[in-house]
Amino acid sequence: MVRDAPAPATPALDELRDRAKQIRRNVVRMASGKGEGYVGQGLDVADILAVLFLSEMRYDPTDRGPETDRLIFSAGHYSIGLWAALAEAGHLDGYDLESYGSDGATLIMSTHEGHPDLIELTGGSLAHGLGVAAGLAVGYRLKGWPARIFCFSTDGEAQEGSTWEAAMFAGHERLGNLINVVDVNRTQADGDLVIEVEPLAEKYRAFGWWAADVDGNDVGALVDVFEQARAVTDVPKAIVCRTTLGRGVPMIVNRERNHFVRVGDDEWDAVARELEVSM
C-alpha cells in the first residue's frame, strides 16, 4: 500500500549541494545580529532538509491529500533550519526570513502548529513528534492512503521515554509508511550528550524497525539511504544521520557551549565569509 516510487523530478546531486548551501546562507542571514541562537542546528540540518524537501518527499503543504507526504517536525528549536529550507523550497513566500525570532514574528524560534499554516506540530516540548507521526501513519493506513509520514527528530529526544513508547508501538504495528529521520550531532542543552543514546540504529532494529546509519552532511549518501529505505515497505524506518553542529562554518563548529551559540555583533560578517569559502 505504501508508495515506493521516488518523488518526481529528482534534482542532480550538484544542484542539491548548491541548494543546501543556499539554505545555510539563509540560516546565517536569519541569525545575524541576534547575538545567540540555534544557528549551529540550522547549519547542521541543511543537507538533510535539502534532500527531504527537494528530492525525497512528495511535499506540498497546500494539499494534504492521499498522495502527499507529511512532515512531523519534532525538534522545535531546529526551526531556523526549517524556515531556511522551506524558503529555499519555495514554501514560505511572503515571509521575511530576517524577522526570525523577533517579537511578534511568525517565524519563531521554535515550531508552533499552524504558525504558519504548513507547520503540523508544536515542537518545543521535545519527543512529542514520533508518537504523533505514528498515529498519523495508522490513520493513513486505515484510509488506504499511499503517502508516507516523515518525522524529524534528534538524538537528545532519544533520552525521553515517549520516544521509545512510540518506537515500540510503530514497530509492533509494522508501520511501513513511517520514516523517522534522526539528527545525531551529539550535543544537548548541557553540552556534549550527557547520557549516551547510542547505538541508535541497533535500538530501532531491536524495536522492529529497519534502520540505517548515514553521514547526514553528505547529500549523496542521504539520497542513497532514502532510496534504500523506500524499498522497505513492511516496517517503520529510522535514518540515523550523523551531523556536525555548525557544519559549514568552522568558527561555529569549534565554539564552546555550541548547543546555543553566542556570536558577537562584529563576528557575523566573518561567519558569512567562512561559509562561502569552506563549502
Partner: protein
Amino acid sequence: MSAPTAVVDPIVLEKSGPFGHAILEIGRRRSDVVVLSADVAGVTGLAPFAQAFPDRFVNVGMAEENLVAVALGLAKAGFVPVATTFAVFATRRALDFIAIQCALNRANVKIVAALPGIYSTFGPTHQGIDDLAHMRVLPNMTVLDPCDNAEMQEAIAAAVEHDGPVYLRELLGKETRDVDRGSHRFEIGPAQMLHRGTDIGIVASGIMVRRAQDAVAKLAERGISAALLKVSTLKPFDEDAVAALARGTGALVTAENHSVIGGLFSAVSESLAKRGQQVPVRAVGVRDEFCSFGSNEYVAHTHGLTADAVVAAVEDVLAARR
C-alpha cells in the same frame, strides 16, 4: 473500514458497562471514530467496540504519553480519536502531551478517564483526586464530570460531536445510583437546577450529585429548604447559574468527587469572588490529603464524600450565619 452493522457477542456487550454500550453505538453511527486504550480496554468496557470495529480500535499498551500522541496523529488524519485510560494516568503521566498537543492546538481529541476521584479500591496511585484541577487550568479544554451512567452516555456523544479537546470522566456503572434529571438531556455548558430551595444552595458535580440529592431529602426532614444545582461541565463553567443560586440563598455548599483544591469548590469560589458576591461557601470533597485503600464505601466515609457530610456542611454554614 468496518461495516457499520458489525455484530457483537451479547455476553461481551452485557459485561461492558455503560461506556462500552455508548461507544459502540457511536461507532456504528460514525465511521470516523477511532477508540484507543492504554492496556485498560477490558475494565473501561471497550471489548464490544474492539470486537465490532477491530481496525478502529488501537491498544498502545502501558504508554499514556504515546496514547495521547497517537490520538493526535489520528486526529490529523481526519479521525475523531477517543483515548481512554484511568484519570490518574491520563492527567499525571500524559499531562504535557494533553496540554501542548491537545489543549494548545485545540485538537479534536477526546480523553475519557475512568476511576475518577476516590473511585478506586487501589489507593492513591489509582484515585484521580486531582485530575479536574490539571484539566481545568488548561486553556481551550472542555471538562466534563457527569453525574450518573446515563448522563455519561449522553456526555460522550456530546463530546464526539463537539469540535475540540474534551476531558470526560468515565463511570464504570457501579459508582452511583441514578439521578432523577427529569426530562433534561446533557449538553456541554449549562448547569441544571434539580431542586429549588431558599435556605441553602448546594452545588454538586459527578457522583456527589446523587449524594447531595439524598442530603436535600434529609435536610427537608429537618425543616431546611435546600436548592441543588448540578454542574456536569466544569469548563466552560456556568457562572451565571452559580451567581443566581448565591443571590437566592445567601450561602453555598459544594460537593465534588475530587480534591477541594482546583475543582468545583475552586470554580464556584473564583466565580463568586470575580463578581464580588460575598457568600460563605463550605466544601465537601477530598481535603488536602491523599486517600486510603479500601472499599468505595470505606474510602467515601473516611474522607467525607457522603450525603451525611453534605448535611453537616450545610448545618455548619447555616450555624455560622446565625
